[in-house]
Symmetry: C2
Subunit: 352 residues, 2 copies
């Protein structure tokens, strides 16, 4: 079942059959009658072009490398699905790779992808300070960033609007009467961690609140254990916080634990807000208030961008920000009376 068979059945040369089948219709390289004959023959035979042979000749594999830190992070599956679905519509397939946040492993995986002749890359792994996100020699391969953006916006990217998202969270807490709000920040070498910290400072400023040096603790990784460590520290150095904005749901989980350790109830004693609205955070106890954005859409958009670059290599680099929204659940509640809130007068003071 090759092109030659189709050509024979249609009574034309294989070259003509090829042109007939690949014709963007109308551009007169092949007569309409011939196109009809060939496509009819192809249909009758159920002909499917051999992508391997095609790739060899055209040097395009119709394959895109997708590099993420870890598939087991619940944030990524919906993103991957979005990428794959959109790529499939464009006739491409995704090649997945997990780096486990290990730069050495990442380099090795990118090398493998180059060997496989991927046509482009979608990277969810860039860090600030590694200016060549795709490694040396990648300049020819189209690259799109997802979830994280490049420091200088020099690369096309799709990500949530971290700053706005955190501002929503802060505004929500303030509207509940909170004034002493802490931030468990994400790793500052990631655009998300840095952006969300910026969003926190900005949001607080907008509400007329100051951010002191003890109001922020920076996590080294987006992990529950780090969230626990940071929240402990925050509670220690800032005992009267009534709310914590976590840079990420994982960190928020760590905050839950730290509060439980300290014998504080959430949200009665201290509210917590997360970011990402991962699957199942609505099943936690208490269900987590979190900043949501559409993960699947982020994936689709990233795929869209890489498809555009594949189609027209020189096109301008776009950076797309997805609008976040706050999903209010039970982990946030009114500020406890007795906090330093300007909301009400005195009231009962907590015992601690």
């Amino acid at each position: 079942m090759t092109l030659a068979d189709v050509a024979r059945l249609a009574g034309v040369h294989p070259a003509t059959a090829s042109r007939a089948l690949n014709q963007v219709d109308g551009s007169g390289l092949v007569s309409p009658a011939t196109v009809a004959r060939v496509t009819a023959a192809a249909n009758r035979l159920g002909y499917r072009p051999n992508p391997v042979a095609r790739s060899l000749r055209t040097r395009r594999s119709h394959t895109v490398g997708v590099v993420i830190p870890d598939l087991a992070n619940p944030l990524f599956p919906p993103v991957i699905r979005g990428i794959e679905d959109r790529l499939a519509e464009g006739g491409y397939v995704a090649l997945l790779a997990n780096t486990d946040d290990d730069p050495a492993r990442e380099r090795q995986l990118l090398e493998r992808m180059r060997e496989r002749h991927v046509d482009g890359l979608v990277l969810a792994t860039v860090r600030r300070g590694t200016p060549e996100p795709a490694g040396p020699g990648e300049e020819d391969l189209p690259v799109v960033l997802v979830n994280r953006v490049a420091e200088d916006r020099a690369l096309p990217a799709v990500a949530a609007d971290d700053v706005s998202g955190i501002r929503l969270a802060v505004a929500h807490l303030v509207s509940l009467g909170h004034r002493r709000i802490g931030h468990v920040a994400g790793p500052q070498d990631l655009s998300t961690g840095a952006g969300r910290l910026r969003g926190f400072r900005l949001g607080m400023a907008e509400q007329g609140l100051e951010v002191g040096p003890t109001d922020v603790v920076v996590a080294e990784r987006y992990q529950v254990a780090e969230g626990l460590r940071c929240a402990r520290q925050l509670l220690a150095q800032r005992p009267r916080v009534t709310a914590i904005v976590a840079a990420n749901d994982m960190l928020a989980l760590g905050c839950y634990r730290a509060l439980a350790e300290a014998g504080l109830a959430c949200p009665q004693d201290c509210s917590v807000v997360g970011f990402n609205d991962m699957p199942f955070v609505d099943q936690l106890s208490p269900p987590l208030t979190s900043v949501r954005f559409d993960h699947y859409a982020m994936g689709r958009e990233a795929a869209q961008l890489i498809l555009e670059r594949l189609a027209t290599p020189g096109c301008p680099t776009k950076v797309v920000y997805l609008p976040p929204e706050l999903v209010v659940r039970a982990s946030t509640g009114p500020a406890p009376r007795g906090g330093l809130g300007a909301g009400g007068g005195g009231g009962r003071r907590r015992a601690d």
Copy 2:
């Protein structure tokens, strides 16, 4: 950078270079001296064979199709990672596809995979009653099943030992004093659903307990909403159950909701056991007791099996069962006094 360049540098014919590089060393087609010269040249040039050209010639793509219902199901990411890691060790890559449990979509995806000339398939989507798991004409492609097994064990597969796992759960509940135990069963057209129901009956029999017709409700899908529906029904038709064995963690989540609706506390009024020990079920409230098995290992083992079949096509079909273990958390507790348990005498009867 092609084989011809290497050959030129080594002063041999490309054909010889090819043989030298592909030689399983020792089988004397090429002299050792030549092999040394060629490999040296290849290293010096950093030569990497073009997998596309190689595939075209050898008709092997070094690619394995991995078909799952839905990547967003937390069970699968670790499995996928196991598959990908083991495949990578064998020089293969995985091509992922999600069927969303839609047979039509599955057929279409399998067709795409055939077009892409995958060398084998790992399927997590087989249902009982579809004897041709991979569709017609798949007889030539090696297939391995994962998570679910074929009805007649005719296909190699890797899965948890569903029967043993559920028996562990039942034994645990009985040891806590439970006697009236219900089962929210999984879809019976899936081997997991059927196996776990069988395990439930067997486990109950082993404990000398009978399973009446109202003790089991069968879910149509592994979804929280279905779990809710079934648990509601179970509570209605069997009001005095003190424990529910769910065929799956999703269904267990539904049970949580049904209990909450009914004003019952877990585990004080009714214990719940899940299956799979999905990520984050330890963060639920209460943390879920669940039957665990090693998801990553399951993936690795499936990849191992497909690699074996790829290496020696005729090898006997193995079916591997992974040993399950019970992870006891806070969703299971002593049977409430006043149940029909044989454990103690009368005691306080619950008000309902």
